[in-house]
């Protein structure tokens, strides 16, 4: 071997194979090197200093940020380095909230493991900070700033991979904290609840919100019928919590465990996925038939849906109107159970078991409720299910399998495929081919776009099926795709979006794993589960047919289907409370006027409306009857200037049209009407 291509690690010669940093070479050489702030998919930060090495002739430096150079000789675990690492951990623990026994991350905390591995016996430093308040408002994620080690993994993930930037570092020195803007809660900012911040967090500083206690209470309530549904990706990962290989976790075992826990009926969300395939394909074809040639986006991922609502409200009409599979199963099963059980839908409790933290947010959406009661009551993550199984004293390895309940327990391979990227689009493409060409699609292999390596595409052109499909995961990549679609550099008929890279199998509700290959392992497990599924196509699922006949008007896209399994979306502001009060009255029943002064509306003249309105208020003496506020983006940019007067939202306004509306609402011009 050429000497120029090697380095020496602890006396052992190791070849260089194009690694970008010393850390990768060290790990390749089989040396364990602790890190908090290094993730190969994120930018190098070099803050935690745990990966320090002694480089001959150069001294001590971080291996994550040092490029390997041929001929280097490094040592990784000298007494000095070990002592330095131990001191680093001691310093991190000084102000740390060490309530480890009751911490959600206890079983997978890197800080706790490292403290033990490095032999930290006591913390020689005093606490120097007042305790900080946790942020407990978000339906999906809880933040405990006193458990943060400031590695910034969450900040970089949110910025670099998701392009959201809901959290960032603030203040400085000892006061540095990772926080949403203005110390608001995650619930009040543009967080999309994907939870990947929690997935990369080495400690318990950000964790998924647990609903275990609520579910136990519901199960104990005899007036309720408590049922469950389980998402495709859950079965591919649950075994990790019991040290079982993924292949040995069958749906049957999970069903049996859920029954043991006390769920009356147990369904499979894959049934909802089957239904989604039928409805979504039909919706797509209907749109084309109606002459709508715009790109249609999938809507099963709640992280993506919220992202679109916040950042691309103009795309809302292009989102598939299909409810997510969890919503569909919730909607149909509650309706059916209320009949068979003779109970009000309010007394049927649906618990979804999901690989996802954003599903917790989704269940609270107003659109996913009927007569004031939610279609899904609680969402448990895969992690929470594992914990419940342990709490219930079930020996999961030994439990005998049970069957899912019908009709919502039977599913096809296509529906199960929703658990990983490309699954949704593949199912739609194949179904379209069977429906329009009366034959199977020859193949479905999305390939990376040649010019833009941020997404994959499948260009299908077989007889009557001509669909250009893009498959994208990660919202940073999605943003790039939307940009290119808007710039007309690319065009697609259907875009499948998953907020989490690799799709649901790598959702933030899955068991914590620091293994980089874990997503692939779960994908394989899911594929294998699909292979042994006797039904391959959604339309061959006899219970899908039966439900269509019984509840959904016998065909996709029917009026009944729209009532029960389609939904709506809403334009969302990125940040709460961002209006600026210009003239506020304490009059009892004032008319409130909100003038959008976001960039686009500003350019279209919203400021003239504001100043004109202020003058008018003075002139007419309306100041007791009107609240005038400036808002910072009502997300209707293409229809600006946007003004709301009372309940009425007005687009493309002028001063005259606003004044006319105000006069009408003040009851001044009823005669002119």
């Amino acid at each position: 071997m050429n000497k120029a291509e090697t380095i020496t690690i602890n006396g052992k010669v190791v070849p260089l194979e194009g690694e970008k940093n010393l850390l990768s070479v060290i790990r390749k050489a089989g040396v364990e090197m602790p890190t908090f702030c290094y993730h190969s998919e994120l930018s190098v930060y070099g803050a935690c200093r745990l990966c320090i090495v002694d480089i001959e002739g150069r001294g001590i430096d971080t291996s994550c940020s040092t490029p390997p150079r041929a001929g280097m000789s490094i040592k990784t675990h000298t007494p000095k380095l070990r002592k330095m690492r131990k001191t680093l951990i001691e310093l991190l623990l000084a102000n740390h909230d060490t309530s480890c026994t009751s911490c959600d991350k206890s079983s997978a905390c890197k800080l706790k493991d490292l403290a033990a591995d490095l032999g930290v016996k006591e913390i020689p430093f005093k606490k120097t900070r007042e305790p900080r308040k946790p942020d407990l408002l978000s339906p999906s994620l809880l933040r405990y700033p006193d458990k943060c080690v400031l590695c910034g993994d969450c900040v970089r993930y949110c910025n670099e991979i998701q392009g959201v930037g809901a959290i960032d570092f603030a203040y400085r020195g000892e006061d540095v904290v990772v926080t949403p803007a203005f110390n608001k809660s995650l619930a009040q900012v543009d967080c999309i609840n994907c939870g990947q911040c929690a997935a990369v967090c080495p400690t318990g500083a950000i964790v998924p919100r647990s609903e275990i206690d609520d579910v136990w209470s519901a199960l104990a309530d005899e007036s309720k019928t408590v049922v469950a549904q389980i998402a495709p990706a859950v079965r591919a990962a649950l075994g990790e919590m019991f040290n079982m290989p993924a292949s040995s976790v069958t749906l049957g075992k999970i069903m049996a465990a859920l029954k043991y826990i006390g769920f009356k009926e147990v369904y499979d969300t894959s049934f909802g996925a089957d239904l989604t395939v039928m409805e979504e394909t039909n919706e797509y074809l209907e749109r084309r038939r109606a002459g709508d040639n715009k790109t249609m986006f999938t809507s099963c991922c709640p992280g993506w849906v919220k992202y679109a609502e916040q950042f691309h409200p103009d795309l809302i009409p292009q989102l598939s109107s299909c409810m997510s599979p969890q919503g569909m199963v919730g909607s149909l099963s509650k309706k059916l159970l209320s009949q068979t059980e003779g109970k009000s839908e309010k007394d049927i409790v649906m618990v979804s078991i999901m690989p996802c933290t954003a599903k917790k947010f989704e269940k609270d959406r107003e659109e996913l409720s009927r007569d004031g009661s939610p279609l899904v009551d609680y969402v448990l993550t895969t992690q929470e299910l594992g914990k419940m199984i342990k709490e219930a004293g079930i020996v999961f390895e030994d439990i005998a399998p049970a069957a899912a309940d019908l009709p919502f327990g039977l599913y096809s391979e296509a529906g199960l495929g929703f658990g990983a990227t490309a699954g949704v689009s593949e199912a739609v493409a194949r179904y379209a081919s069977r429906a329009l060409n009366n034959q199977e699609l020859s193949s479905y292999e999305p390939v990376t776009n040649e010019d833009f390596p941020f997404w994959k595409e499948a260009i299908i052109d077989e007889d009557n099926v001509k669909i250009r499909i893009a498959v994208v995961a990660g919202l940073g990549n999605t943003e790039k795709l939307i940009e290119k679609i808007n710039a007309r550099e690319v065009s697609y008929d259907l875009v499948e979006v998953m907020a989490c890279p690799d799709g649901c199998v790598a959702g933030a509700g899955q068991p914590v794993s620091y293994d980089h290959g874990i997503a692939d392992k779960r994908k394989t497990a899911l594929k294998n589960a699909g292979k042994i599924t006797p039904i391959h196509c959604p339309e061959d699922n006899p219970y899908i047919q039966r439900i269509y006949e019984k509840m959904l008007g016998s065909k996709p896209g029917s009026h009944e289907a729209h009532e029960l399994v389609h939904t709506k979306y809403q334009s969302r502001k990125r940040i709460d409370n961002d209006s600026m009060e210009l003239a506020v009255t304490d009059h009892e029943a004032p008319v409130e006027i909100n003038v959008c002064v976001g960039t686009s509306c500003f350019l279209r003249g919203s400021q003239d409306i504001l100043s004109g309105m202020t003058a008018k208020i003075d002139q007419e003496g309306w100041k007791d009857r009107i609240n005038l506020k400036a808002t910072f983006c009502s997300e209707n940019c293409s229809h600006g200037p946007t003004v709301t007067v009372g309940e009425k939202k007005m687009h493309k306004t002028s001063l005259d049209s606003v004044v006319a509306e105000v006069e009408e609402q003040l009851g001044l011009v009823t005669s002119r009407k």
Partner: protein, 166 residues
């Protein structure tokens, strides 16, 4: 209840933000000078203006908040009309600046935690060195420098400013 003049002032200020953004070509890389200009205009960085600036520049509000809290020059709290900066550098400290700080806190009912009077007239800040050690202890009120200030003079100065506003 808002008076028409306040409304006019707010509107004026809002158009100022837009002017500031345009002056810096709405470049994200100019965020610091933009925030400086905003603070000069408003005497602090109001939340809604920061959100507006962030949205206009395509930066996340969380990052702008991070920048605004990193530099001690920036303030997210409204500051008083008169900003009293007491130099607490070595020379001024030795010459009795802590007495001045106590005097100001007593006169204006301020504390370690309260730096601004509720009427938004005065803000007390301590600075590390004004580079005017020959004048120790030195105090700057807005842009006016006062040298070799005694506790008594400090009380008189505050009274003077109060009288101006009365």
């Amino acid at each position: 209840m808002a008076t028409p003049t306040m409304t006019a002032e707010k509107l004026h200020n809002f158009s100022k933000v837009c002017e500031i953004l345009d002056r810096f070509d709405r470049l994200p890389s100019k965020i610091i000078p933009i925030l400086q200009a905003v603070q000069e205009e408003y005497r602090y960085l109001p939340e809604e203006i920061l959100t507006f600036v962030a949205t206009s520049l395509g930066i996340s509000p969380a990052r702008v908040f991070g920048i605004a809290t990193f530099y001690s020059h920036f303030s997210l709290e409204p500051k008083g009309k008169y900003i009293i900066k007491v130099c607490d550098g070595t020379a001024c400290h030795v010459k009795g600046s802590s007495g001045l700080i106590e005097t100001i806190q007593r006169e204006l009912k301020l504390s370690e935690k309260e730096h601004t009077t509720p009427d938004l007239l005065f803000t007390l800040e301590t600075v590390s060195c004004l580079g005017a050690c020959g004048l120790a202890p030195a105090v700057v009120i807005n842009d006016k420098v006062y040298g070799q200030v005694s506790n008594k003079q400090m009380s008189e100065l505050i009274a003077e400013y109060k009288a101006m506003e009365a």
